[in-house]
């Protein structure tokens, strides 16, 4: 039986232990993402060691493990194919990459790709969509993060999606640019987040507006303590503007951790839109759904 699901990303290894009814009974998180694996030696052996060190005690011979995320990429353990958009999310269970390891069957979840009108890819988020998407409605779903994913869903099919690298842009602007040099550490000022948000949402000149983080300080229109919040607002405002082009819906479903979803919910609601739901444990729900689907076949 399938006892374990692993969401193995670039930075983090997250494992979930399920019972025979696909209910979660244990979980663990380790800073052992695929980026941390030394690519100068045999990465397969390293991935195997990590997996059995962390979750070996949950497994018996003949069991299966589901693996999802960047572990299924070209830099991972076992590269899986992509399902192409529009993609029936329930079909991912039919396209698992399979391999045996120490008497345990490893089942690698495929990613989703889009070729037109632009190229895009996801690995890991498809499982979150599987666990949480309505099979009866159209939905606009956002998974905020380093590389936010926006997905336009319709009756359980991913119609189209877009990666918007807002989180990464925020971090590198704060830490590597002259623009971020004026920002003070850790300060958060709500009013400047809102000012940035409104500007980022309405502008069609976001590269120019990035410089406003600096120019506004020099012109004493923004305190240095507000730079971080203002930049965050500016980028999230632009992201919401860009992401909503996928679907005209004014309600948005949020998937992610509490801190980031709080910030996005504040932004979405300030712009007069609605958050239809917030989901934290979408990967767990996705594994559980996939285990149930496979068992019923």
């Amino acid at each position: 039986m399938i006892r374990v699901g692993v969401d193995w990303g670039s930075s983090t290894f997250r494992a979930y232990h399920f019972d025979e009814n696909a209910n979660i009974i244990d979980s663990l998180t380790r800073p052992l993402g695929i980026k941390q694996v030394n690519s100068n030696s045999d990465t397969s052996t390293q991935f195997e060691d990590i997996l059995f060190t962390e979750v070996g005690s949950w497994l018996q011979s003949g069991d299966s493990v589901l693996l999802s995320g960047m572990i299924t990429s070209a830099n991972g353990w076992h590269e899986t194919e992509y399902l192409e958009c529009p993609a029936d999310i329930a079909a991912i269970g039919n396209h698992l990459g399979k391999t045996l390891c120490r008497g345990v069957q490893l089942l690698f979840v495929p990613g989703i790709c889009q070729r037109s009108p632009y190229a895009d890819v996801m690995r890991g988020e498809e499982l979150q969509l599987l666990g949480t998407s309505s099979t009866t409605d159209a939905e606009l779903v956002v998974m905020p993060g380093t590389h936010s994913k926006w997905a336009s869903m319709d009756h359980g099919t991913i119609q189209s999606f877009r990666t918007i690298p807002t989180g990464e842009l925020y971090q590198i602007l704060l830490h590597n640019s002259l623009i971020g040099q004026l920002a003070t550490p850790n300060d958060w000022l709500h009013e400047h987040f809102i000012a940035g948000l409104e500007l980022g949402h309405k502008t069609n000149r976001i590269i120019s507006e990035l410089f406003s983080c600096r120019a506004n300080v020099l012109m004493k229109q923004l305190p240095e303590e507000g730079v971080r919040s203002y930049l965050s607002g500016l980028l999230i405002g632009a992201e919401i503007n860009e992401g909503r082009i996928l679907q005209p819906s004014s309600t948005i479903k949020l998937i992610g951790d509490d801190m980031l979803c709080d910030r996005y919910q504040t932004a979405i609601e300030h712009l007069g839109l609605t958050v239809s739901a917030r989901i934290i444990d979408a990967s767990v729900q996705g594994f559980s759904r996939l285990i149930t689907d496979i068992k019923q076949r």
Copy 2:
């Protein structure tokens, strides 16, 4: 008399030696920008040492030196006021910051600021505009660089301007982001520059399109050797789109070094616009004009 003009920026110290007719007779460039000066000790003394070490032999007691660029900022030697937009560029000679040093008069050129509809600042580029702008026409002028400046000029007045941090964004994305990790060193492929340019110019979703640098490679729609050119095209296309909002002119004047102006000219002409002129030594022309203006008073 005024014998020397110094364009003293963040990274570079450039000095020009003029004769009594304001013609250039010598010049030098040193990697001694204000960023290189150690802010833990007395920066004034360091600036003074650099100036007299580099150009002391050009000066006699009673001479004057013009200084422009970041040396006139709060982090520089002598902070000058800003002239506010719309600003008559010929008026900068009336607002020089003055101080005496080793028997030589130092004349610091003011920067230009804009308060509305958005805050923006320039220090150094105003001198380039003084040296090169038409006093009889409207012009759209671009000074490409780390922080590109776009200026809408009308009969010698800076009507409005905008800083677009294209060059900085390009560098930090290439060197600090996951997006740039796929780029190979130094490759340049014209066709991918053009593909990025066309997309960057027409899109209103530039943050999303940044991720296309990566997604296109993963989906085998862009070779790794083309990432650098594609990203450059994407950002310059967006910059031209954003900058032209200042003035509907379809002709653009370029000020800057040959390599960068080549790239911008290629982009501008590919988009069906016209380059009205290209000017390399705009700072020299600016100092020369300012020296002549001051002498005639």
